[in-house]
């Protein structure tokens, strides 16, 4: 059984969403051992490390800077993709503290948003990156 459905139906953890079931939309993105994973594709028996979902992203119960930026920029419309978007963006910022537009496009284009919140996703990632670098 894929990790997604264990999280959702067995454990009641609802932040990762079902969107496509074939790793084409990114709505189910969680972190396993710190790396972003499409949980609809990972059999639960193959989970190799700790699983983290959006509510566990911030340190010590605080909001992650990406979540703060998502709120300030009012990114979400329907919001269904946003848990996956933020988990993907968190990986980008962990690897690249100052991403360019091209870096953001490359990292985030596998996460689908049907409402078209993309301009604010870009802006919020840049704002969060700046805040994590020390409020430049």
């Amino acid at each position: 059984m894929p990790l997604l459905w264990v999280l959702r139906d067995e454990l009641g953890i609802k932040e990762p969403k079902y969107g496509c079931g074939i790793a084409q939309c990114g709505a189910c993105t969680v972190h396993v051992g710190g790396s972003p994973v499409r949980s609809c594709q990972l059999p639960v028996g193959s989970v190799w490390s700790d699983v983290k979902t959006l509510s566990g992203l911030g340190a010590g119960g605080a909001l992650h800077p990406l979540q703060t930026a998502w709120i300030e920029h009012q990114v979400a419309q329907c919001g269904y993709c946003q848990s996956g978007q933020i988990m993907q963006a968190a990986d980008l910022l962990a690897r690249n503290p100052n991403p360019s537009d091209a870096d953001i496009d490359a990292a985030m284009s596998a996460n689908l948003c049907r409402c078209g919140a993309y301009p604010r996703i870009r802006a919020a990632i840049k704002a969060a990156a700046a805040s994590m670098r020390g409020g430049e």
């Binding site: 139906d9 079931g21 419309q77 329907c78 078209g116």
Partner: protein, 761 residues
């Protein structure tokens, strides 16, 4: 009328005492329904009873159908569905502005389906008149249609109509509640209501003392609601019109937001559906022996169009549904896109003429002997493909049905649930939940009907039926395919003749036929976005041709206009090019409506318009649409790169009359434009063997981040009426892009999706 004592002090002699009044006496009139005037018969004028009064407890007040106050809290009824467009937050802020309360402290409840929450505006949207025509006949018929809508009690969310329909009703509700609370406070303390103020959820006395609204609930329940209230003018608004936080934004940024698909109930079961990939028919035979052996499977159920499997989790239900061995019946429509397009082409015949709502000058004479410009345009079937797959949770009990789902048509669901199970409508409880997108798909309730069928097989147990993405794609009611044949002429550097024949199945007949009743008269959706544009072309004709349905079709963000605006503006662009004049200047010359002119002028200023030529390997395009009562002008810049065409920038100017929530309004403008651009570039449903070949997002994705341009938007507030923004910016996006591609490459694109003809980076 209120039969209770008019003296609140007498009825509630001290704060602690609960008033002893029976519920049936609370037949308070409603102050909230503005606009219910001047439509004739008393029966029609009469305000439906306030549904909140039915369930009030002692000491609880429902001053209007939109505001309920108890000792423990305040609830706003926000009856329009939030499918991502932000209307939940807008509704709350409209009430809160007049009630003087932080809407974040209020419980928001979509309410139960009820005629008082009718959407009257949407019924008058699709009438066969020019939207700018305020003559006697159009006005009278619009009023009549709004009246019909009131009588029918249809409550739906769509057509970018929510703000137009609700902005006065909800502010009235807030104002009536505020004044009634002041009256209650005045009565309790024996001072004039006029000496009281309100702020932050409290009534403020002249000496500075404060009393919370919730403490006044019991008193307020006993006073006659104050209905004669004046709305505050915009210059006195505190929050509306300013930058404020959308109410659901924190939940949607932290993972706390729950959608229909997230519902969990004790002892719940989970179902998946395996339906005929073709539409309108079911199976000949099936073998469920393998499916039944899958761990966790409870039962296989026959439903409309196919089968469902009930299991102990969604994944097992999906697997078991896929394991069913089914022989499907053959639908009675053409099997392939090729055959379907032939049906549409063949429908371009005199006897299929459905409307000719634009017929200015003498087109035939103007084209006779002229150097005629002609072109043919096509728009494909398109899926909605909202990211949350369709789902509904249903509990069927002997005397009661409970439904949890996201929907734009709550009354249709209530009626269907009652009819299917035999319980009374009053014994259907519908919990309307936030939606992970819709784009018009949730104007149908087929998925809920199916979930009720499933739940009826396991009475007493709640069942969540979730469609797989593949089921969601195959069983969409897509945007209809649509084509146009256009002819025109230019003379002396001017567009003088434009004749557009637009051909499509009838969306009104298909959708209204499923959900409501088929309206009489021509289907304006066949010609919407083409016949209703404010151009004064001397010889100007738009004819709608009704084609056979082929497959059942649905409303798709800016129905009609999403195709017709492309046809109309792309052809106008060709005529303007033939005339050898500037596309912006010629549009301004042809339009006299001041609101429309202003958005064109604004977009020109924003992008420093100086014609389509912006340098080698680049191009600038422009298009205009009057869509859903909003004039929108868009300019698109593209660059030819070695990886294909790239959209660099998009400028949008629109006028929606009044902007209540500027942050959300901007999101709707850019989101609607991205919707229009992404599908025009990349998407189509092509049919083979009766079903779409595009089964998931690998083949149907709209726009992704790497293709998203920079946006520059401007909202004007000079239009005479308030209008919504969920759809208007979709219409001009595709033709503006096609125009830019022509400017950059010299290639005319007359068929969507454009990626059949050009590569995009």
């Amino acid at each position: 009328m209120n039969e209770v004592s008019k003296d609140p002090k007498k009825a509630n002699n001290g704060k602690a005492d609960k008033p002893k009044v029976s519920r049936r006496k609370f037949l308070i009139g409603s102050a909230a329904v503005a606009g219910g005037v001047a439509f004739g018969a008393y029966f029609i004028l009469r305000t439906p009873a306030n549904p909140l009064l039915r369930d009030l407890g002692p000491g609880e007040a429902a001053i209007t159908p939109f505001v309920k106050i108890t000792e423990t809290g305040i609830t706003f009824i926000v009856p329009r569905a939030d499918v991502g467009q932000g209307i939940l937050s807008t509704q709350a802020h409209l009430i809160a502005e007049e009630l003087d309360i932080d809407p974040g402290t209020v419980t928001l409840d979509p309410g139960q389906p009820h005629p008082i929450y009718v959407n009257a505006k949407i019924a008058s949207n699709s009438l066969p008149f020019q939207p700018l025509d305020e003559g006697f006949v159009p006005r009278t018929v619009r009023d009549l249609m709004e009246t019909v809508a009131r009588v029918s009690g249809a409550q739906f969310t769509g057509g970018s109509s929510s703000v137009a329909d609700l902005h006065e009703k909800l502010r009235h509700a807030g104002a009536a509640a505020r004044e009634t609370l002041k009256t209650a406070a005045a009565g309790r303390y024996g001072i004039p209501a006029a000496s009281l103020a309100t702020e932050n959820g409290e009534v403020v006395f002249p000496d500075g003392r404060r009393i919370a609204y919730t403490e006044l609930a019991a008193d307020a329940a006993l006073v006659e609601p104050v209905t004669d209230v004046e709305l505050r003018p915009p210059e006195r608004w505190r929050k509306l019109g300013t930058v404020f936080q959308r109410i659901d934004i924190v939940a949607k940024s932290t993972g706390a937001q729950r959608y229909g698909i997230d519902i969990e109930l004790p002892d719940m079961l989970y179902a998946a559906v395996r339906a005929n990939p073709g539409r309108g028919v079911s199976f000949d035979r099936y073998d469920d022996s393998v499916a039944r052996e899958i761990r966790g499977v409870h039962v296989v159920v026959e439903v409309t169009d196919g089968l469902a499997v009930v299991a102990d989790n969604t994944w097992r239900a999906f697997r078991a549904a896929a394991a069913l061995d089914v022989d499907w019946q053959t639908p009675d429509y053409p099997a392939s896109s090729e055959e379907m397009w032939r049906v549409l082409e063949d429908a371009h015949r005199e006897d299929n003429i459905d409307s000719r709502l634009r017929d200015d000058g003498d087109v035939d004479e103007a084209l006779d002997g002229a150097d005629v410009v002609s072109a043919e345009y096509r728009a494909p079937f398109l899926a909605h493909a909202a990211l949350e797959p369709l789902n509904a949770t249903v509990l069927v009990e002997p005397d009661h049905v409970t439904v949890w789902t996201a929907t734009q048509v709550p009354t249709a669901i209530r009626d269907a649930a009652a009819e299917m199970t035999g319980v009374g409508k009053e014994n259907v409880t519908l919990h309307v939940l936030p939606a992970g997108g819709s784009f018009g798909r949730r104007l149908d309730h087929d998925y809920v009907v199916q979930a009720i069928e499933v739940a009826m097989s396991v009475p007493g147990t709640p069942v969540k039926t979730t469609w797989s993405r593949e089921a969601d794609m195959a069983h969409d009611f897509p945007r209809p395919f649509h084509m146009a044949r256009a002819r025109g002429a230019v003379s002396g550097g001017r567009v003088v003749a434009c004749d557009i024949d637009t051909i499509s199945p009838s969306l009104s007949a298909s959708w209204f036929g499923r959900v409501f009743i088929v309206p009489p008269g021509p289907d304006t959706l066949i010609v919407w976005g083409a016949y209703d544009q404010p151009y004064a072309i001397p010889h100007y004709r738009v004819t709608g041709y009704k084609a056979p349905e082929v497959v059942p079709i649905g409303s798709w963000r800016s129905p009609g206009a999403c195709s017709n605006s492309f046809f109309h503006e792309a052809f106008l662009s060709e005529l303007i090019a033939a005339a050898g004049v500037d596309p912006l200047e010629e549009r301004l010359r042809l339009i006299s409506d001041p609101t429309s002119r202003r958005v064109l002028e604004a977009v020109g200023e924003m992008c420093s318009w100086n014609g389509p030529d912006i340098g080698a390997g680049r191009g600038r395009g422009i298009a205009f649409a009057h869509s859903h009562h909003v004039p929108v002008a868009e300019v698109v810049d593209v660059t030819v790169t070695d990886r294909g065409l790239r959209i660099d920038d998009v400028w949008i100017a629109a006028d929606c009359g009044t902007v209540f929530d500027p942050v959300n309004a901007e999101a709707q403008l850019t989101g609607a434009a991205i919707w229009g651009l992404g599908h025009a570039m990349n998407c189509e449903l092509t049919y083979e063997n009766y079903a779409p070949l595009q089964t998931n997002y690998h083949a149907f994705q709209g726009m992704r981040l790497y293709q998203t341009p920079r946006f520059h938007t401007k909202l004007l507030e000079q239009a005479p009426a308030v209008a919504g923004l969920g759809e208007p910016a979709t219409a001009p996006a595709a033709p503006a892009l096609a125009d830019a591609i022509f400017a950059a490459t010299g290639q005319r694109l007359r068929e969507m999706p454009f990626n059949r003809f050009v590569d995009f980076a």
